[in-house]
């Protein structure tokens, strides 16, 4: 680790520069990725072709229907903007947090977390950002292209307010997903091995992938409420996508304001769960 990060003799408390540590993590990960360059390229191509196939599927759907949901406003290009938003959020989560959450469960199981606890830096920061999967960011670029293409084909242009707020709400979406992920990973402290729980995460984020208006009816409406207000998965993509792809007049501002609170609340909740988990952690190693 970096010289400056080591506690020097006689200094009881150190305040590491989180930004510098993060940049070091980012650089190290990039160096590692570039060491196996062809593997990196294969991974980029893999995730891009997966996306291309998905895009093909939605193109196919729009061969049959003008919109998703009657008068919902989610036509072909609006939905592609939605898809781009999903990609933005997911690629960021996959690049920054996914490899770490996976590792975190494993650290708890094997007792390797001891080493993370000993480092003079916030443990949640350390286990959340240690590794960065740069190849996942290829989807981020793909999303940028897709969003530009969709906006170009839409009949209106988003206003300045929308363009400014969009990144903020993307960040909220990432924060909510991160919180859920790290909280789920932290439960390995109590459950030992939670492979199935982790799989659960993949299945449950499925709900965030489509416009929330599709959840209607006797089962759909409670489902929508549950995944909006209890586990706020639906707002992760829906709010930023709505903001970008739909005209300003049709925006649902109460939901947008709620999203800000939800993001902060989720982060706080994940912090609480993480700290509790650390208190219950009993090293599995010698």
């Amino acid at each position: 680790m970096h010289d400056k990060l080591q506690p020097r003799a006689g200094v009881q408390r150190v305040h590491p520069s989180y930004l510098r540590v993060f940049l070091t993590f980012a650089r190290n990960s990039l160096v590692r990725d570039m060491t196996f360059r062809s593997n990196f390229i294969i991974e980029c191509v893999s995730s891009l072709s997966w996306m291309a196939m998905n895009l093909g599927y939605y193109l196919l759907i729009f061969q049959f229907t003008p919109t998703i949901g009657q008068d919902s406003g989610w036509g072909k290009y609006e939905f592609f903007a939605f898809l781009a938003t999903t990609l933005f959020v997911n690629s960021l989560v996959q690049a920054f947090f996914m490899p770490n959450a996976e590792e975190f469960s494993e650290l708890i199981r094997t007792g390797g977390l001891d080493f993370a606890l000993l480092k003079p830096i916030d443990t949640q920061f350390l286990v959340s950002l240690q590794k960065i999967d740069w190849s996942s960011l290829s989807n981020f670029l793909f999303a940028a292209g897709l969003l530009a293409f969709s906006l170009f084909n839409l009949t209106y242009w988003p206003t300045l307010v929308q363009i400014v707020l969009y990144p903020l709400y993307l960040a909220c979406g990432v924060a909510i997903l991160y919180s859920l992920m790290i909280a789920l990973a932290a439960t390995s402290v109590w459950l030992g091995r939670n492979q199935t729980l982790y799989e659960f995460w993949f299945y449950i984020t499925n709900f965030s992938r489509y416009p929330m208006d599709i959840y209607q009816g006797t089962i759909g409406t409670p489902l929508r409420w549950f995944f909006t207000f209890i586990i706020p998965l639906l707002i992760v993509v829906n709010v930023p996508a709505q903001l970008m792809a739909q005209p300003l007049e049709t925006q649902s501002w109460p939901l947008a304001i709620f999203t800000l609170f939800a993001a902060v609340g989720c982060l706080w909740g994940s912090r609480v769960i993480f700290s509790r988990a650390m208190l219950s952690y009993r090293s599995a190693s010698s």
Binding site: L60, Q63, Y203
Partner: protein, 299 residues
């Protein structure tokens, strides 16, 4: 699944000189029965995880139900006739439910990658010296895996199908049902021998994971797992229908829904059988050729 650490096939019971002598005395049937029994016991260890995992695999289906509900609403409003590629809403949801059954037969998690791994780390050697056939051994392991899976998964499946019974328009005729079952059994065999053949490519390419990813990608989209392949337009439909992939998910489900009948059904089943036979031969040939160029060192 099937990782080397746990020695999943319990092969220790069958190895060694004493084992050979016993096996030779008892005949081949006993060998295969023993393999099947060991695999069954090994698979039952994870039954709780199995049941929970099965139930969870239906979660994405919930999204699909609502997504297609919204699509059919819009299609109905736009054209006055709520059908997509000849499917009405109930059929579409029933289709997705039925492909889950197809996949329960045809999916072979870790088979190809497991074979390729055994080739790479040299474990495959034991099949070259022991009087046990690799493909047969793996087939029994898979049958055991699937049997345990069905026993455990029948609960979650029954529950989901009971809750969704409204989407079905009743049971099909007995002949259709029989054809569907035949096609499911063949989809298991097709899935097994196709993946086994892919795994054998490990004899030529040490690392087959990217190849398997491409296969997984195509099979996910063009087996009908993601959408009924009737939706594909023109040349795409012809292209996809000429691959064996459709028999892994689409075909059994479409047969159950009565989308394929009469001469088409007989033809479809024959082609499926043809593909099964093709891949049985292909897996044998690739194994034979692969072993010829294989060299193993050390213990």
């Amino acid at each position: 699944m099937g990782n080397a650490q746990t020695n999943p096939y319990g092969s220790a019971n069958l190895s060694g000189a004493a084992g050979h002598a016993i096996l030779r005395r008892r005949g081949p049937l006993v060998i295969w029965w023993t393999i099947l029994r060991i695999s069954l016991e090994e698979r039952l260890v994870y039954r709780g995880d199995f049941a929970l995992g099965t139930l969870m695999r239906f979660l994405p289906l919930v999204t699909q139900v609502f997504l297609w509900g919204a699509i059919f609403d819009a299609v109905g409003a736009a054209t006055g006739q709520p059908t997509v590629a000849g499917y009405h809403y109930g059929e579409m949801v029933a289709y997705y439910l039925l492909t889950q059954i197809s996949r329960a037969f045809s999916s072979m998690p870790g088979l190809a990658s497991g074979i390729a791994l055994q080739i790479r780390n040299g474990e495959i050697k034991k099949f070259l010296v022991q009087p046990v056939d690799l493909v047969g051994f793996l087939l029994l392991g898979r049958i055991a895996h699937k049997l345990v899976y069905y026993v455990v998964a029948v609960g979650p499946f029954a529950l989901v199908f009971f809750l969704c019974r409204g989407f079905f328009s009743g049971w099909p005729e007995p002949t259709i049902l029989l054809a569907c079952i035949a096609s499911l059994v063949m989809s298991f065999l097709l899935g097994f021998f196709l993946e086994a053949t892919l795994g054998m490519l490990g004899f030529w390419f040490l690392e087959v994971s990217s190849l398997l990813f491409v296969y997984m990608l195509f099979s996910f989209f063009f087996s009908g797992h993601m959408f009924p392949i009737d939706m594909l337009p023109g040349v795409w439909a012809t292209l996809v229908r000429s691959t064996p992939l459709q028999y892994l998910a689409y075909f059994p489900a479409a047969v159950f829904l009565g989308k394929i009948q009469g001469a088409d059904l007989v033809w479809g089943l024959s082609v499926q059988l043809g593909w099964v036979l093709f891949f049985i031969v292909a897996s044998r040939v690739t194994f034979y050729l692969g072993v010829k160029r294989y060299s193993g060192f050390g213990g």
